[in-house]
Symmetry: C2
Subunit: 660 residues, 2 copies
């Protein structure tokens, strides 16, 4: 494209931005104004994408990590011809519009991920770049290339200050993700004022230390940016950080370069002044330069042709490689669910003790052998989380076909990378750490839930029963805290068999799933409900029926390791109780009243047992006295000793049952 | 000390470690064995400390950021003469011992902070180094130096991979914390294997980019380490990272240098082999080299003399500066609570709308003017969090007397730095961000609660009423998730007056407090309970009494912004309800039955209202139908429109009340 078109598009991004933000009287005009030229280049020249088919599998990905600059994205998506009419831009930040305050995945065509919580966009992009390399290794042949795209990102100072960015960038450098290209909008302004206040590190040197290529440039010199892009692409072994010196709010005569323009509307006067400065009538609202419109009209045809070209290659590849095509359909086309019923889960001898983390490891091996899209890893705890897939090799700088990722001790980046891999499509990622460290990855777990991306979180060592490592390693509040997240499915299986089913449930589900798993052995249980696998999908089922089937004197509802503890306690207390395993409170709560009252008939007292806080259990137990829980931090010692110290043994529960 | 003493102490650290870990059959011998010589130098030579008085205000601080190496600390504390008898080391990782799996603050003398969750120790140390500089600026005079100490840290690969470390280190470099000296135990081994698997960045270059001095060395060359320490101390404008090439599990003939020795006991055979290799009888248990004992006997006397010397200076300083002494007593001696009653909080006109974040800002100004120890800042949201203290200047590289910190967009490091400042003593820190980003700082918030350190968390924009920023910025589950943390006090004040009291409650409290504050204006309420300030300290009080005082037909319990919403709804519904403000659910729950039933008489239906998930409210409401809550993510739009979209307006609540 010529630089006149760049200028016309940039001008339009600025005018659309200031009017939309002014109309909402809310938003962040500074970033879109500062990066408008880069936006023109990305959407008009650099990126292989197709506004008419935003789902094209081989499109370049673009992530606006500094999501507050959402009008950057909306302006460009509109101009480029995505299904985002001007009417939507006029409804910026209004309920029901497709232009929410921060870009939201699934809400607006062309938005690849939800951003706003800083730093996560870059980590998502690292996940996408990993996914691209994995899929390229699986599908490309010497004759045909069907997966080959770049992942572009814009980050701001805020993203670079967040720890997640360091984690993700260090890993990206380690893995040599050469097709990841990050533009740093270096405008030297943060919300509190100049970045001199808190951010004076040498960003270029830091990124070189991570093993990146670092290229400095001027945000307003399109020719230079083109040269830098060529350099970025030329080095295929290093991710690239292009540091663009920029001016926040560029084009605003009186506010450019100041933090006043970061997160507030310019005000009518300054909007008018900004328009005047580019020769526009201040009364002209949501102005689009006709040259920008004309440019993108032509460009859309080129891009459609580009995709058609790719389609031809794809068809030739498909014809030559029917086996790969079938795998493509399964992985990229999402047909893997048809395979789930054929997965042969390991069998377990009843009564024998198996840690659910071990059962998870075995289930994972069985699943991985059937589903090539299942890939993932742990934050340096694979031997404890039982997550390695040794049969398929590690994903490394030199082995893009490997399926095990070594994330390092980087929980938050790991989870956000998992989101990025799932968002990319073609993969069914899992990530793993200790349950207690779910706190570290919680910001990304929330986005998994908000976006409903199918990432499996393997969180082991799920209670104080971890023992000796002590309070810092013993989750108490974590399961409750995760259940509080809307749309997050938390499964806490009671034994090895439930663990296998939990894995299948996770793969059947189109959103994120947490598997909370034990460090310690648990007996494999006889289950009263012959249809327990089906029932488990409704959240809860009867493990042990009372003698008087329809009318137990007491019901004990437990999760995970507390199901076997409850069985023991019921026997010790000698009461005629029904024992229910409730691996998913959310799923049970979502059942109809008939199912719920079949399991928990009105009037029968319910005791709940879970090795964590009571919070959330009142709804079932009715009274706090009937919740067997822990309301304090743990202790360091062997698990059994800690249980005694906390008053959380089968004998303690039996004593409680006797009082009912 | 001579190098023979170093060797004797190092030998003893190794023998104590392997026996303690073997006895527990659990623990991490690799790190203490690898760093034993450095430990000898730190506790025997480098550090100004006094084992007989671990609370000496001017001691050097030492933080074992890689807390799993706890036997490093316990061995050295024992050898140096802290009150940690050998018997305790023999009870390593047992319930009730003073030697838990990870070092725990308040549990073992000489342990400065709880570590284990990686990276946080280094960030705590940054907080301590900031505190030292702040107090030095306040108290030292040209004639006398009463505050002057170093902060030492050991980190491992895991710490350096965690994002929090990047955040804290970047800030430490920015602030020029020259008295922070970090030793990196570079043993090239992580749990999954070699650090080559996931961590190949150039750590030295990265730290230089942060503005640190970086010094490479050999972990087993005491003379070199001494030279490096001198260099580290000489540069008073840069924190120092000393990178020590080391061998994990050093001394174990067959397991040294391998990840087998990271986190498991050596096994009896290897313990024996290790002892033999240093010329010991394998049957000799918990061996301590007599030379180590002799050395520390003398050293203790020297250190006691050192403290006495300091005491002399202190007394001279105190005599010459009675004003400063009074301030010292208040800040360092913890007597600031006496001042709380004299704080003149701002007054508010009833009915007028004030955002509680604004009221918090005003309360903070009043408090800061009376309590010089109150310092803190925001993660780049000061204008939104209302946390700046402009009257007292910024704490910067060149102004150590400033009281406002600019943390940058580094929430997790901010919170851990807050913990470090509070642990150091002498300061009453606050930290701030949006409530929704409490997820980012949650790992440190948990440690605030576990350690019970008095940090105030100012978390504004506390519900979907933030409006246009949309779901990524609208907390839904966060208040519930924070209430789930044992020992964390969460206060959600209903108006400007309650906000002022909440601040006082936070300062009266010796543990952490969260203040959940609104973005939007709330009316200042008439309060039925004339003694509401007292009652608020019990968690809840009557804002509006029913006509039939003793027997309302209905009670509405609300928090924060929902109190005024409830008042409106009650009026709209025309029911004779009592309305209760419950700024602290935890405090209310801790009251005796009499207080609780006075507020909530048995048999009277209770409706609860809070702009977040229902989880946790069943205990009061009895039935899910009576919980006015939000069980989904929010929407982007003006707050009022979002309320309508979510069915969370006063009219919606009124409708619910009518059904009761």
């Amino acid at each position: 494209m010529d630089n006149k078109a760049v200028a016309a598009i940039a001008r339009s991004v600025r005018t659309l931005t200031i009017d939309a933000v002014q109309a909402a009287n809310s938003g962040h005009p500074g970033m879109p104004m500062g990066m408008a030229e880069l936006g023109a280049l990305l959407y008009g020249e650099f990126m292989n994408h197709n506004p008419v088919d935003p789902g094209w599998a081989n499109r370049d990905r673009f992530i606006l990590s500094c999501g507050h600059g959402s009008m950057f994205l909306y302006s460009l998506l509109h101009l480029a011809g995505y299904d985002l009419p001007l009417e939507e831009l006029k409804q910026f930040r209004q309920v029901g519009s497709r232009t929410p305050g921060h870009p939201e995945y699934g809400h607006t065509p062309g938005v690849e991920t939800t951003t706003g919580p800083l730093g996560q966009g870059l980590a998502n992009a690292v996940g996408m770049a990993i996914a691209e390399q994995m899929l390229a290794a699986r599908f490309n042949t010497p004759e045909h290339t069907v997966v080959d795209h770049h992942t572009y990102v814009i980050v701001g100072d805020g993203c670079l200050m967040e720890g997640i960015t360091s984690e993700a960038s260090s890993l990206a450098g380690h893995l040599g993700l050469g097709k990841l290209i990050v533009f740093y909008d270096s405008n030297r302004i943060s919300i509190e004022g100049s970045t001199e206040l808190a951010f004076t590190e040498d960003v270029a040197a830091r990124y070189r230390a991570y093993g990146w290529q670092v290229l400095p440039g001027d945000a307003y010199d399109p020719d230079q940016i083109r040269t830098l892009l060529a350099e970025a692409k030329a080095d295929q072994r290093k991710p690239t950080l292009v540091i663009l010196e920029s001016e926040i709010g560029r084009g605003s005569p009186n506010k450019a370069g100041s933090h006043a323009v970061h997160g507030a509307a310019l005000g009518d006067d300054e909007v008018a002044a900004t328009k005047k400065a580019i020769g526009l009538d201040p009364g002209e609202m949501f102005y689009i330069d006709p040259e920008a419109t004309a440019f993108f009209r032509t460009r859309r045809e080129e891009l459609t042709a580009l995709q058609a070209e790719w389609r031809k290659t794809f068809d030739a590849w498909a014809g030559a490689n029917p086996g790969l095509l079938a795998q493509w359909k399964e992985m990229v086309g999402g047909e893997y669910k048809d395979v789930l019923k054929d997965i042969g889960l390991p069998q377990y001898e009843k009564g024998k003790g198996v840690a659910t983390r071990q059962a998870s490891g075995k289930a994972l091996q069985a699943i991985a052998s059937m589903l090539p899209g299942v890939v993932g890893g742990s934050a340096d705890l694979a031997p404890s989380n039982n997550t390695a897939l040794p049969e398929y090799g590690d994903f490394t700088r030199d082995n893009r076909g490997g399926r095990t990722l070594h994330f390092g001790v980087r929980e938050l980046a790991m989870a956000a990378i998992g989101n990025g891999m799932a968002l990319h499509g073609g993969l069914r990622p899992f990530v793993a750490t200790f349950l207690v460290f779910s706190d570290y990855l919680r910001p990304a777990l929330r986005l998994s839930a908000l976006m409903q991306v199918p990432v499996v979180y393997i969180l082991t060592h799920d209670s104080f029963f971890v023992g000796e490592d002590g309070p810092t390693h013993q989750p108490i509040e974590h399961i409750a805290a995760m259940r509080a997240i809307p749309g997050l499915r938390v499964l806490r299986p009671a034994d090895a068999e439930e663990t296998g089913e939990a894995w299948l449930m996770a793969l059947e589900h189109d959103g994120p799933t947490v598997l909370a798993l034990t460090r310690q052995n648990l007996p494999t249980l006889e289950k009263a409900d012959g249809e327990w696998k089906k029932a488990m999908r409704r959240g809860a089922y009867v493990v042990k029926e009372s003698e008087t089937e329809g009318r137990p004197e007491l019901i004990v509802v437990a999760t995970g390791s507390e199901v076997s503890l409850a069985l023991e306690a019921v026997e010790a207390a000698g009461c005629d109780a029904r024992v229910i395993s409730m691996p998913s409170v959310e799923l049970f709560r979502a059942q109809d009243a008939a199912y719920r009252s079949a399991l928990l008939p009105e009037g029968v007292p319910v005791v709940t047992a879970e090795a964590g806080v009571a919070q959330g259990w009142d709804a079932l137990a009715g009274s706090g006295d009937r919740i067997f829980s822990i309301e304090r931090f743990g202790e360091s010692g062997p698990g059994g000793d800690v249980a005694k110290a906390l008053g959380f043994t089968a004998a303690d529960l039996a004593e409680l049952l006797r009082t009912i």
